[in-house]
């Protein structure tokens, strides 16, 4: 009889993961901090063309690109003369389960099917759960979804309740837990018991799946406008959406397109706190994931995270919950598109960023998501009020996550706040030094230096300067 205690199961983590992922991550290690990221993506992933084929088998991708003419006009009314870029949106809600997550699930489920796994498991409270079940169903695989859903009072976030319902509607076994990072313990136990595939968001498959999204954007903008987009705005949480999209842009020849990450500001709320859990109105796309995963990707449920957003990010901004709800409302009224709200995080940033860009430029928002009961502005704000959050019109600058949600008094008040890349890079390097394996030589090896420079997208000199600052 195996020891199923918390400590014993966590101790078997590496062994369980190796079996559940079908990838030997040890193959890519280069000693110390370093590993060969591109070789991992190449050996363990699929080419862009293969991914396209895999996704077409299960009706994923080739989603419409829509020009938001009325929203663009609204942004122009608030811009200096000659400013106000054209805003386009990729309607990812048109994927089978209603979000871009189908792209990631498609590749994981293909791999699982072709490697003889009987089922797949995903640990997610987000759209990814529904995506995995939907894709697994098409490939005759069983699915278990592990969700963090309730606080200790048994009160569930309406958005996650809806995602749980959707997974059950597709026929999954849905394990619903109270708040806590020990969800990972339950996840490991179920992986071990079933021998199913870990459909992690952070494998090379999960990232390769999104590369098609970036590539489609380039092809669609090229076909309509004969040029590449100037900027693409991506909601950033675990980093996969940004990493995959950016890699797709590069592969499609749009390396010059600026990649802008956007997250909802939930600073001050603790992601593992039972009390804070229901004081937030966004369960993903927020800084509670975005910042920690950007500054240390290898906190994920795989040994080496394939989502490494700092390698690709040109800018990172935050916006507030109230601003996203406002833009969600504007999208419905101005454009006839009822989508989101969480998926409209990047759209909210784009609305403000378009005002800074020349009007002949193009900014693309790379996702929408389905909306419905629970996953809706009215549902989220009703729930917020019931949990003691003040909802009012005002200046978004006065927002305090967990205390209030401020609907801007005027659309001109929608303004992203930059998180300087320099701060993120410094924070990443701090985490890297803290996590350097014991017994590594005092000085960084050449492999480590090259790896870190790529991780923070710096020249060797730039890296040396950042490290010198760290040593202070």
């Amino acid at each position: 009889m195996k020891d199923m205690s918390y400590a014993a199961v966590m101790g078997r983590r590496n062994e369980i993961m190796k079996q559940a992922l079908g990838i030997d991550y040890g193959d890519f290690e280069l000693g110390g901090l370093a590993f060969d990221y591109e070789r991992m993506m190449e050996k363990a992933g699929y080419t862009l063309e293969q991914v396209r084929e895999i996704q077409r088998e299960t009706n994923v991708g080739d989603t419409p690109l829509i020009e938001l003419k009325n929203l663009t006009a609204a942004a122009r009314a608030l811009s200096e003369p000659g400013k106000g870029a054209r805003i386009f949106i990729k309607d990812e809600a048109a994927n089978p389960s209603g979000s871009f997550k189908d792209r990631r699930a498609a590749v994981s489920c293909y791999f699982a099917q072709h490697h003889g796994y009987k089922g797949v498991i995903a640990a997610t409270s987000g759209n990814y759960g529904a995506a995995v079940v939907s894709q697994a169903n098409m490939r005759n695989l069983k699915t278990i979804v592990v969700q963090e859903l309730f606080d200790s009072r048994g009160v569930g976030q309406p958005e996650i309740l809806e995602k749980g319902r959707k997974c059950e509607a597709y026929g999954a076994e849905v394990l619903q837990l109270t708040v806590g990072p020990e969800l990972f313990y339950t996840f490991l136990r179920v992986l071990e018991e079933t021998g199913f595939f870990n459909a992690s968001l952070y494998t090379p498959f999960g990232i390769a799946g999104i590369e098609t999204l970036g590539a489609e954007i380039v092809a669609q903008v090229q076909a309509r406008e004969g040029r590449n987009p100037d900027a693409v705005v991506v909601t950033n949480a675990g980093g996969g959406n940004l990493t995959g999209t950016a890699r797709g842009l590069v592969k499609a020849g749009a390396a010059q397109t600026k990649v802008i990450g956007a997250s909802v500001d939930l600073s001050g709320l603790h992601m593992a706190s039972d009390r804070d859990f229901n004081r937030k109105s966004f369960t993903t796309g927020h800084t509670g994931f975005g910042v920690p995963f950007t500054t240390w990707p290898d906190r994920a449920d795989v040994p080496r995270n394939a989502a490494r957003p700092l390698r690709y990010m040109d800018r990172y901004v935050t916006i507030t919950q109230g601003e996203v709800f406002t833009i969600t409302e504007a999208l419905a009224v101005l454009e006839g598109l009822e989508r989101g709200p969480a998926g409209n995080t990047s759209l909210t940033a784009a609305f403000a960023i378009a005002r800074e860009m020349p009007e002949d430029q193009i900014v693309v928002v790379q996702e929408t998501e389905y909306t419905g009961a629970g996953k809706h502005v009215t549902a989220q704000l009703t729930f917020a009020r019931e949990n003691g959050i003040e909802v009012r019109r005002g200046d978004p600058a006065d927002q305090v996550p967990g205390k209030n949600i401020i609907i801007p008094s005027d659309p001109s008040m929608i303004r992203p706040k930059d998180i300087p890349l320099h701060d993120l890079k410094t924070s990443y390097l701090k985490n890297a030094m803290k996590n350097r394996p014991a017994g590594a030589p005092a000085a960084l090896t050449d492999a480590e230096t090259a790896f870190l420079a790529a991780e923070v997208r710096e020249t060797p000199e730039g890296l040396a300067a950042l490290l010198a600052q760290l040593r202070g």
Partner: protein, 101 residues
Amino acid sequence: MRIAKGSWVQIEQVVLKPGERAPHVPEDTKAVPLMLWVKGTLLQDASIGDTVEIETAIGRRMSGKLVAENPPYTHGFGRPIPELLTVGAEFRALAERGSRR
């Protein structure tokens, strides 16, 4: 009230008791147990509160405390939000201004 074998039910498990929680979780979380709920087909007649066995949607057997028979989905759309009611009109006015530019 007896719930018949074959009914669609929800069971509950205590995964970790307060003393067993991971060392790094915040104090408010550490003070409460980690709980799990899952639905499935009841494999024997039972009453609420009994320890029972179920078969989940994918055919796995799990046991736990019986807490509900076919619980409803309770999430909805909430109420219209007064603070948002005029937002559409505000943006429409802007769009008209912007398109004349």
